[in-house]
């Protein structure tokens, strides 16, 4: 059943107890995201070290189980990765949510991919895809330092 695919145990767990829901001290990059349709807000904080590796990542915000779980899992998976690896993970995730059946990146381990694939249930709910992608677009904005609030209605 589709609902069970959407609200898997791991989504409910991350939705209820989001990891990294805080503000990184001495962050050096950040960005805000907003979904005007539902009012969901997210603020992503990033601390990159000298080698452009993610030393810490965190987020603040409020939203539905899908958006909170997505941000929570995202922040867990990109910690310790290099900036360009993070971008590859984001690209892979967004492609999977839009059209692909699986994740192709070699950067994530199999168990990490399995965890991320838990969000794929959202594909059957087109109105909810933006809940899952908002934090990822916001992370891109933080890395690129665009200084512009991500608005889910202005992106694909």
């Amino acid at each position: 059943m589709d609902l069970k695919e959407l609200y898997q145990e791991i989504i409910l767990d991350h939705g209820k107890n989001p990891r990294n829901l805080r503000k990184t001290e001495n962050f050096n990059k950040d960005a805000k995201g907003y979904n005007p349709l539902c009012g969901d807000k997210v603020h992503v904080y990033l601390k990159l070290d000298e080698d452009k590796k993610v030393q810490d990542i965190s987020f603040e915000g409020q939203g539905c189980a899908i958006s909170m779980a997505s941000a929570s899992i995202m922040t867990d998976l990109v910690r310790g990765k290099e900036e360009k690896e993070v971008k590859e993970i984001i690209k892979d995730f967004l492609e999977m949510i839009r059209e692909k059946d699986q994740l192709n990146t070699k950067i994530l381990k199999e168990n990490e991919k399995t965890k991320l694939m838990c969000l794929s249930g959202v594909k059957k709910y087109p109105m909810r895809v933006k809940c899952a992608t908002l934090s990822w677009h916001t992370l891109t904005s933080a890395i690129d330092n665009t200084q512009e609030e991500i608005n889910s209605e202005r992106i694909d």
Binding site: L12, C38, G39, K41, Q62, G63, A65
Partner: protein, 405 residues
Amino acid sequence: MNIENIKKQFPIFNNKVHNNDLVYLDSANSSQKPQVVVDRIYDFYSKEFSNVGRSVHYLAVAATNLYEETRSLMQKFINAKDPHEIVFTKGATEAINLVANTFGQKFLKEGDEIILTELEHHSNYVPWHYLRRSKGVQIKFAEINQEGEISLESIEKLISSKTKMIAITHLSNVTGAILPIKEITQLAHSKNIPVLVDGCQGAPHLKLDMQDIGCDFYAISCHKMYGPTGLGILYAKKKWLESLPPYQGGGGMISEVKKDGITFGDLPNKYEAGTMATAQVIAFAESIKFLNQIGIKNIEKYESELTKYGEEVLRKNNSVKLVGNPKNKGSVLSFTLDGIHAHDIATILDEDGVAIRAGHHCCQILHDKLGLSATARASLGVYNTKSDIDKLNESINKCKKIFNK
């Protein structure tokens, strides 16, 4: 009122949603359409179509008569004094924009004040905001009380010598509060201030009498009244329609056009530039007849009882919190569920065929005030029954189960 017979007139209920019977609880957003309205659009386009008000041929004359018949029906439906006080627009949004724009142009200057309420839908705030930017007018918001109501006093204390317009909702699309619009109008008029009422949620559910209420403007959304989309109505007192400048320019609204000057047409043409939503206007006559046949007072009574039943059922359900508790309440049940976001509720309910709305319902000012980012909203129409409320409650329980609440 035989709801079963009424419901049978709506073909949408013959369809299944995710293999379930449709429980449609989103009428505050847009209502479903009875067969007579659907048929009228089909018949008009297939047998009677012509543009109105221009040509002299048989079809044009017949279509023009039908178009004007809707105007007269609407005049009677809301007891306006004159059919020319009914202006067709593309929606209630355009109706409010029309007033804000033309009234602003002619009467407002920097420092003038407009009073709105915290309950307003964005369509009764954004058009006034434009005047804040273009003219430097000030906007004041009357505050809600604990029950989510607007009292006469909350408006009275904002009135000053600079107040030039009071624009308020008739019935909140979130808390369901019905505002004392007649008393507010009397108060405003005693200080020479005109009143605009956003009647989107009022017109489909409450008996209206423009001459009794006395307001200057009343905006109506036809698709919430079991009518077609793309159509709204602005009721405005004749003195305003005669004194305000035209809104949009184009064909149909002029009297004489010369290279060095233009004179404008009389009412109602002055405000109906270009080819209007002809088929929608003509089909909307069927919506009015449909409402008249049931009787708007019967609808008001039935929906009020159903709303009370809904409140009782939802109050008994632990972890459901109703948004607002107005004494005088329309058929809107907004709620939150402890620890479950409104969008998750809406998705889970949808699986059972229960259609509700989730989000801020175009009322961000109100949601900010309530400290809520989103709420779930079940809103009722003439086709809803107690069994729909029971199904809503069952699906809410399913949400709680999925989220282990």
